[in-house]
Structures are given as structure tokens and as C-alpha cells.
């Protein structure tokens, strides 16, 4: 009896586990759409980085830079957040690249991580209307009442509607400060399902995990 029960549980798990894994991966908020690395790049381990997020709103810029900074600090890598050394005017100036290059030399960092907004998109899905129909009187008990009850729709009937998902794209690029060349690049797409703050945290965690997996640092 017990053995039969265990077998049934095991069979259920075998069927359910892959389904759960598939469902979870399908629901991940951030997806990598493109990744590239310079295969010819054979560096000594990078030890310091300047993080610059190019965001329109300073709060978002600082939040992204600080969250990346924490990821680097946790791994013992020296990190400088862009907002601490570059003013908004400097970042938006036509010669911003030269200003950053000068700051890189001044700080003596050996890499620069640049995060910027990529094109986003919206996806509209049509959710059809739904009517739940059940026979009136079913379950009421009393003698023959259920037999003669009609099957008029009781409730509820909903109209079809459109649901729009918003996605924002991001590009994260790692540069070698010595040569000024890009050595790693990832393009991601994140589904907006709540406040922006809630999306930044998992986005930074996902991209950081991928970056550290490349073993540049």
C-alpha cells in the first residue's frame, strides 16, 4: 500500500518537476536577447571598475549604479559609481566620452561598465470573454427541483479585453580602460510587471551573474 503510494508520488513528481521548471523559466522577468564577448581578449584579472548608467532620471541612474557597485564590492572588486564623479551636465555634454576617459585615467581604473537603455516594446494580448454556465438549482437538494431546473447562465459573464505587456530593453557593455575597446556586451529585455524599482534589482542580479560568469574579474 505504502509502496504503491510512494510510486504514485514519484510518478507525479517526474511529470510535475519539468513543468514547474519550464513555467518558472518562462516567467523570468529579464531575458538575455544577445550576448557577445571578445574571444581574443586574454586579460590579467580586472581589479577595478567605473560603473556608468545612462538613465534620464537621476534616481534611476544612481539606483542602477549603486546596485551594480554592491555586486562588485561583494566580490572584493574596487568600484566607483559614475554619479559620484560625473555631474549631469558632464554626462550629457557632447564631449562626454573625453570627460569619462579623463576620469578613468584620474581614477586609474582598469575597466568601465556602461549600462544604457535599449529600444523597448509593447505586446498586446486579447483575453476572450468568459461565461460560466451551470444548471440552476443544482446542489439545492430538494426533490425534483434539480430535474426541472433550466440551464440559464448564472454568473459571471465577462467581456473580452486587451492586456498590454511593456518590455524595456537594456544594453550592458564592459570596456577595457587601457585600450578603450569593448570586451563584453549583453542585451536584455525585461517585462515591466510593477514599479521600476522592482525591476532594477533582478535585472542587476541577472546581468551581474552573467558578467561574473565570464571571469573577467
Amino acid at each position: 500500500m505504502q509502496r504503491s503510494f510512494n510510486r504514485r508520488v514519484l510518478n507525479a513528481l517526474v511529470v510535475l518537476l519539468p513543468a514547474v521548471c519550464l513555467a518558472l523559466s518562462g516567467c523570468a522577468a529579464t531575458k538575455v536577447t544577445q550576448v557577445w564577448r571578445d574571444e581574443s581578449y586574454r586579460p590579467v584579472k580586472l581589479k577595478s571598475v567605473l560603473v556608468i548608467a545612462l538613465a534620464e532620471v537621476p534616481t534611476v541612474q544612481r539606483e542602477i549604479e549603486s546596485r551594480f557597485a554592491k555586486q562588485f564590492q561583494d566580490r572584493g572588486i574596487t568600484v566607483t559609481e559614475g554619479f559620484r564623479i560625473l555631474s549631469a551636465d558632464q554626462r550629457n555634454a557632447p564631449d562626454a566620452r573625453d570627460v569619462v576617459a579623463a576620469k578613468v585615467r584620474e581614477l586609474g581604473v582598469d575597466s568601465v561598465l556602461i549600462i544604457e537603455r535599449d529600444s523597448g516594446r509593447t505586446e498586446t494580448a486579447y483575453i476572450p470573454g468568459m461565461t460560466i454556465v451551470h444548471g440552476t438549482g443544482y446542489g439545492m437538494g430538494g426533490g425534483g427541483t434539480a430535474v426541472v431546473a433550466s440551464s440559464q447562465p448564472m454568473a459571471p459573464t465577462t467581456q473580452g479585453y486587451e492586456h498590454t505587456n511593456k518590455f524595456f530593453g537594456m544594453q550592458t557593455q564592459l570596456y577595457d580602460a587601457g585600450t578603450g575597446k569593448i570586451i563584453w556586451f549583453v542585451r536584455t529585455e525585461t517585462r515591466m510587471s510593477g514599479p521600476l524599482q522592482e525591476e532594477i534589482k533582478p535585472y542587476v542580479a541577472d546581468v551581474s551573474a552573467r558578467l561574473f560568469g565570464e571571469r573577467f574579474f
Binding site: V57, T59, G137, P195
Partner: protein, 211 residues
């Protein structure tokens, strides 16, 4: 009025009220805090930058509300309109000089980023209720008709204000906390000043940068 009609009207009224309340108010959609900062602001100089030129009115109301709520939480505060006359925005140097003069250790800048208009639409929800259900138990077994009652489509426009609020340390000029907020409203923005300020104050208190 029959029972089913009363139920339908009540349901409609409650749903509309829930939808309207759920959509109004201020949300902090992004927040940042400098973890390296461990102090708390003792006196805050409040500047609201709502328009390119400084005009009394909304700016005064916003600054006054912040000053009132700071003081209610035991933090001293001063409104910028009391020291800067109407006219063009003061420069950074002018602000810093005044901040020093009034003895503030922090500067709170409220900046309006954009105003949008959006529409919310909730589709119809229909209930088919068997007629005669409530009037007679005896007729229950023989009913064959139903009548539709329902909640009508709810569709309304609302305005959407996006603002950024930043708290700076006066001595260094560095930001120590900031938030991006979104405020939805329907009946004029002035009514949103108090709840907007309350949301920002909660954010500041939660981040432990004020008393």
C-alpha cells in the same frame, strides 16, 4: 426596487469607488539612498522647481506642506520662497549661499519631470439572474427565463504627474536620498499636494535620513 436591482446598484457603486480610489495617489516607483551616509538631516531647506520661472502658488503650497510635515516629525525646515523673490530660478551658488545663511544642513529639491494623461477602461461584467428567484420559492422549479443585470463599462481619464525628489547634503552638495514618484489624479493637482508630500516623507523616514 427589487432585491436584485438593489444588489446590482450597490455592486456598481462599490466597484466604481474601489476603482477610483485604487487609481488615485502617489507611488514611489524608484528610490535610492547613499549607503555611505549615516547621518540624519536636522534642518532642511525646501525648494520646489515646478516651472521654469518661480511663481507663487503651487510652488508655495508644495514648500509649505513639506515644511509643515518636516516640523511635525521634529525636523526643522525652511521654504525657499521665503528667501528668494519671484523670478528666474536661482543659481546653485545662490542657493548654497542662502542655505548657509539659514543654517540648513540639507536641501530637498522637488522637481516636476512630466505630466501625462491616460485612460482606464474596465469592461462590462454581466450577471444573468433568474427572474422570480427572490419572489417565490414555489416558482423556482418552473422558471425558464433570466434577466441581465450588469455593471456598465467604467472608463475615465486621469492625469499622471512624474516628479523627482532629491535630498542633498548641504556641506558636500552630494545627494543622499532620491525618489521618482508618480501621482495619478482626476480632480486637479492641488488636492494631491498633501498625499504626495506624505508619501515622500514616508520614503525619507523609511530610508532613515530624517528624524
Amino acid at each position: 426596487m427589487t432585491t436584485k436591482r438593489i444588489v446590482a446598484v450597490a455592486f456598481l457603486a462599490i466597484s466604481a469607488a474601489v476603482i477610483m480610489t485604487a487609481c488615485a495617489g502617489t507611488k514611489l516607483v524608484a528610490q535610492w539612498r547613499d549607503d555611505a551616509y549615516s547621518g540624519r538631516a536636522a534642518k532642511v531647506f525646501v525648494i520646489a522647481l515646478l516651472l521654469d520661472t518661480r511663481v507663487r502658488g503651487p510652488q508655495t503650497l508644495v514648500e509649505d506642506e513639506f515644511v509643515k510635515q518636516f516640523k511635525a516629525r521634529g525636523t526643522e525646515a525652511a521654504a525657499s520662497y521665503t528667501v528668494f523673490p519671484e523670478g528666474p530660478r536661482p543659481t546653485k551658488e545662490e542657493v548654497l549661499a542662502k542655505v548657509k545663511e539659514v543654517g540648513a544642513d540639507s536641501i530637498l529639491v522637488v522637481r516636476m519631470l512630466k505630466k501625462d494623461m491616460e485612460e482606464t477602461h474596465t469592461p462590462t461584467l454581466r450577471y444573468a439572474v433568474p427572474s422570480g428567484f427572490e419572489s417565490s420559492w414555489n416558482s423556482y422549479g418552473y422558471m425558464s427565463t433570466s434577466s441581465n443585470v450588469g455593471i456598465r463599462d467604467v472608463s475615465y481619464d486621469y492625469d499622471f504627474l512624474t516628479a523627482e525628489v532629491t535630498l542633498y547634503q548641504a556641506t558636500t552638495g552630494n545627494p543622499i536620498w532620491s525618489a521618482m514618484s508618480q501621482t495619478k489624479y482626476q480632480q486637479g493637482p492641488l488636492k494631491q499636494i498633501e498625499p504626495f508630500t506624505t508619501s515622500i516623507m514616508k520614503g525619507l523616514t523609511h530610508a532613515k535620513v530624517i528624524q
